[in-house]
């Protein structure tokens, strides 16, 4: 999948900061105050980092709280470009994801904090498209744009911690009724991939244990049929290893997953009918991983650290 972005930024000349004890050279951006999460996108001319940033002051802590979305060229510390500023009634760090819209403009899927029940909507700069839950009391969170050629702006989200819902766009551009594509207990993440061998739903279930931003959990890959129903047994991507955060993208052979682990991060390359090739890279205090397969087949990985630095690296798919 090739994602386009109107920001043309070349990925070159990364700052020469390298983390020790890792096989991949990680390059740091300067601290980005308020950065809460990053995603990677590729525009016509390069890779950019999209980040959500809290910290814009409001008149009082209790007045609507803005969340800013910026893009930064992966090439280095260029001035961020503001994409969106979206107000929330309640302060906090919303769940969000980004993809490229039809016009090459970033499109956001975003939580709207409501108190305990949060809603979701998609912002494309012109419209705010609501994602309607199946039940009024369902709390929607963890919105993720479906990755792969047939993604087409479809969004998955978790309803409470029980269901993975798929929201697909109709011809009118609106999102239709949600479809339940997975159910379980303590579901904490989900990401749907359109891989060369078919739909694969990655899910992570929260397990009791010490958190690193999220509870630990095993990441499972569930093959889905064209009707989004289970088409095979779920396979643990990293075996029994518990991970905390992950991101994934589709490759020519299958898909690649980056996950934050207790010891650092792990990278899994999964091909059709082949066992996953897994690498472990020790490094503490990473969070918020992002991954993207860029033009030319390079796999870009990004991380956020508690000091709000963004770290990037790239490797062969």
């Amino acid at each position: 999948m090739r994602r386009r972005l109107f920001l043309l930024t070349l990925f070159q000349g990364l700052p020469a900061m390298t983390l020790a004890n890792t096989q991949l050279a990680l390059h740091a951006f300067p601290p980005q105050p308020g950065a809460q999460r990053i995603r990677l996108l590729q525009g016509d001319a390069g890779v950019v980092v999209i980040l959500a940033r809290l910290g814009e002051k409001s008149a009082s802590p209790y007045q609507p709280s803005p969340t800013a979305f910026d893009s930064i060229g992966a090439a280095g510390p260029a001035k961020p470009t503001r994409l969106y500023t979206i107000e929330q009634l309640l302060p906090g760090s919303p769940d969000w994801d980004v993809t490229l819209g039809a016009a090459g403009k970033p499109v956001l899927a975003l939580n709207k904090f409501g108190g305990a029940i949060n809603s979701l909507s998609v912002h494309d700069g012109a419209r705010q498209l609501p994602l309607t839950p199946l039940r009024e009391v369902d709390d929607l969170h963890d919105p993720r744009f479906v990755r792969g050629p047939r993604g087409a702006g479809a969004v998955t989200a978790l309803a409470d911690d029980r269901q993975v819902l798929l929201f697909q766009r109709g011809k009118d551009g609106q999102y239709g009724a949600a479809r339940v594509i997975a159910e379980g207990k303590q579901l904490d993440n989900a990401l749907l991939l359109d891989t060369p061998s078919g739909w694969v739903l990655l899910t992570r279930r929260a397990e009791l244990g010490v958190q690193r931003g999220r509870f630990p959990g095993v990441l499972e890959a569930r093959p889905l049929g064209s009707d989004f129903k289970p088409a095979g047994a779920a396979v643990p991507v990293f075996g029994a290893e518990r991970i905390f955060h992950f991101d994934a993208d589709v490759t020519e052979a299958g898909y690649a997953v980056v996950a934050v682990t207790a010891a650092g991060f792990a990278l899994a390359r999964v091909g059709k009918d082949q066992p996953a090739r897994i690498e472990h890279h020790p490094h503490q205090a990473l969070s918020g991983p992002a991954s993207m397969v860029a033009t030319g087949g390079m796999l870009y990985l990004g991380f956020l650290t508690p000091d709000q630095k963004i770290w990037l690296t790239k490797t062969a798919v």
Binding site: L54, Y62, L89, G114, R135, E136, D139
Partner: protein, 625 residues
């Protein structure tokens, strides 16, 4: 005159005997020549005399020989009594085969001469040590023998001082009777005590006893394994094990349902090894909530080389009190049997024991914090209704701390609510920092106090889960949403309805004062309608003043609405009255997204049942009416 006559004359002169007359000596000599007689009678072997030549003693061993002396010497014709023929003509044999006093007499033309021979016997030697082992060995335990002294008693025939005084002992000190010795047995080891009667010359009788002094084992409880109760989860980090371990600090709490018996097994370290294999019994006793209970082991074999021994799982002799409770610092006093049939204290273990109303409904979610507060606040409860209300006392102080790390648990600290904290697990597992004064940017403050944060959904669920820990399943999470505009939304539910309108919490200032209107919004939020006094929430005096929705808990058992986020409880004659009470107390108006006027509505002006809020079960979406 010959020499003989000269000596005679000289003797007569010395004796004053006139010359030519016969002196007394001469007369006796003459008489002896004429009448043989017995001159002496004595025992020449096999007996000893205490100085009296007519009284002899001996031991019951072989025989003794009596010899008669006659004048003229060896004159035949001695008449004997009380004896048997001896080896020599003038000797007789006395048997020593029988205990007794034997009189041996002899006569020869004179009054009977006699000697008396007493025969003694030494028949036994015994110790008062309590345990008979093979042969004469007796066993006792160092440290468990009164005064560290055992008394060894010799049995003689006759049992009399005259015999006992002849006993020769190899050990011990004199005691009240001469046939008893006091032997010190303070340390483990074998001692042989010998008593001897007789002499090498006459023969010796000997008895001995082996004093087998052993070390009694001493045990120490090093690990207890509790069972039959409930696993407590350490506030999402991990399950507590069911162990108490020596030297571990702190040891985890334990949890049982009321009126059930605590079951435990123990591992004990052998602090002092026994010298012989021994069997002991171990017991623990405790009084928990006024109920005395005991755990008693079966016989536990302790080998001399054992490092540890096991006490198999056993239930307490009595169940826990039949009511909810938290028994902090409950002591189990451990004892082991001693060799004298008593009990030897081997230490105390201390435990924190939670007692629930019923069995947890979700067994793997007995979170420590919820368990602790509910057991403390619900202590003494024995019925679900009373317990539910008492347990809610957990929230009314709005000052909970997470037991795992004593961090405050806050309701909607503005800086800290990230993502979804919509369940108990997320609330108890969260780690954030408290908002700093003046920090308005909504970011966790690096210098802020570490807190656990949750929103109303997680706080409400925490109370539901708290009750489930106690087996109470009649509490339900309720979502509150306004129904502005006035008409209730018709299906299908839209996202817009979900999030475009909400309510103003606690006191807002309306300028001018809000009109009594249940139909229209009249003010501009943040401009003519501004925040006033916040409703204090859990560990947060100023939670956000406006929400699109809110979660509370409805309990069908008590017909009460509980609002854990704010620590408030609402009861009433009817459900509608309860909901109205919440509304009247908790909000001061409504708001909607969009252009002003976007705030208003005086709740106080709208009498029941014309509520503007919908209370809906989250499990089935049904409305609570």
């Amino acid at each position: 005159m010959g020499n003989k006559n000269k000596r005679k004359a000289a003797q007569d002169a010395a004796d004053g005997v006139p010359d030519g007359q016969i002196g007394e000596d001469e007369m006796r000599c003459i008489e002896s020549l004429i009448v043989p007689r017995l001159t002496a009678l004595g025992i020449i072997d096999g007996a000893i005399s205490g100085g009296n030549p007519a009284h002899w003693t001996t031991v019951q061993l072989g025989g003794a020989t009596v010899r008669a002396t006659t004048a003229p010497p060896d004159f035949p014709g001695v008449t004997w009594d009380g004896s048997q023929a001896g080896v020599a003509p003038m000797e007789r044999t006395i048997s020593r085969a029988v205990v007794g006093t034997f009189n041996v007499g002899a006569t020869l033309n004179s009054p009977r001469m006699h000697v008396e021979l007493e025969v003694f016997n030494l028949t036994a030697l015994v110790s008062d040590l309590p345990i008979a082992v093979a042969g004469t060995t007796r066993k006792g335990y160092a440290g468990f023998i009164a005064g560290n002294i055992t008394r060894v008693s010799a049995t003689t025939e006759p049992a009399a001082d005259k015999v006992w005084n002849q006993l020769v002992w190899s050990a011990g000190a004199a005691d009240a009777q001469a046939n008893v010795r006091a032997v010190t047995v303070a340390v483990p080891g074998d001692q042989t005590v010998t008593v001897t009667l007789g002499t090498p010359a006459i023969g010796q009788l000997q008895q001995q006893v082996v004093l087998h002094i052993c070390a009694w084992p001493r045990l120490e409880v090093i690990e207890l394994t509790f069972s039959q109760g409930h696993v407590i989860n350490n506030d999402t980090a991990a399950d507590f094990d069911r162990l108490w371990q020596h030297g571990r600090a702190p040891n985890p709490p334990q949890c049982y349902t009321r009126n059930t018996a605590m079951t435990l097994a123990a591992t004990l370290r052998v602090v002092r090894a026994p010298t012989d294999p021994e069997n002991v019994v171990v017991r623990g006793t405790a009084t928990i909530g006024g109920t005395a209970m005991t755990w008693t082991s079966a016989q536990i074999a302790v080998a001399p080389n054992a490092a540890t021994v096991a006490f198999a799982a056993v239930a307490a002799s009595a169940p826990l009190p039949n009511q909810v409770g938290f028994h902090q610092g409950a002591q189990i006093n451990w004892e082991m049997s001693d060799p004298n049939g008593g009990w030897l204290s081997i230490g105390t273990t201390i435990h924190n024991v939670y007692v629930t109303l019923g069995n947890p409904i979700v067994a793997d979610r007995v979170y420590w914090t919820l368990l602790h507060y509910s057991c403390v606040n619900g202590a003494g409860s024995a019925a679900a209704g009373a317990f539910t209300n008492a347990a809610f006392g957990t929230y009314t102080g709005r000052n909970l701390v997470r037991k795992r790390d004593n961090k405050p648990m806050t309701y909607w600290d503005p800086s800290s609510v990230a993502r979804v904290n919509g369940n108990t697990m997320a609330l108890l597992g969260s780690d954030s920092r408290r908002h700093l004064p003046g920090d308005q940017n909504g970011l966790p403050a690096p210098g802020g106090e570490e807190v656990a944060v949750g929103h109303c959904g997680s706080w409400a669920e925490s109370f539901v889960d708290m009750l489930k820990i106690h087996g109470v399943a009649n509490a339900f999470k309720i979502n509150i949403k306004n129904q502005f505009p006035m008409a209730r939304p018709a299906p299908p539910v839209t996202a817009a309805i979900m999030a475009d309108a909400g309510f103003l919490v606690a006191a807002w200032n309306f300028a001018p004062p809000v009109a009594i209107s249940g139909t229209t919004l009249t003010h501009r939020q943040w401009v003519t309608c501004t925040t006033g006094v916040h409703a204090p929430g859990q560990s947060n005096p100023t939670p956000p003043p406006a929400f699109y929705n809110h979660f509370v808990v409805w309990c069908t058992g008590t017909n009460t609405l509980y609002d854990p986020s704010y620590g408030n409880r609402f009861a009433g004659a009817t459900v509608a009255a309860v909901l109205q009470a919440w509304e009247m107390h908790s909000i001061s108006g409504l708001f909607a997204d969009g252009a002003p006027p976007n705030a208003g509505y005086a709740t106080a002006a709208v009498p029941a049942p014309a509520r503007r809020l919908i209370f809906r079960y989250t499990n089935n979406n049904n409305e609570l009416v």
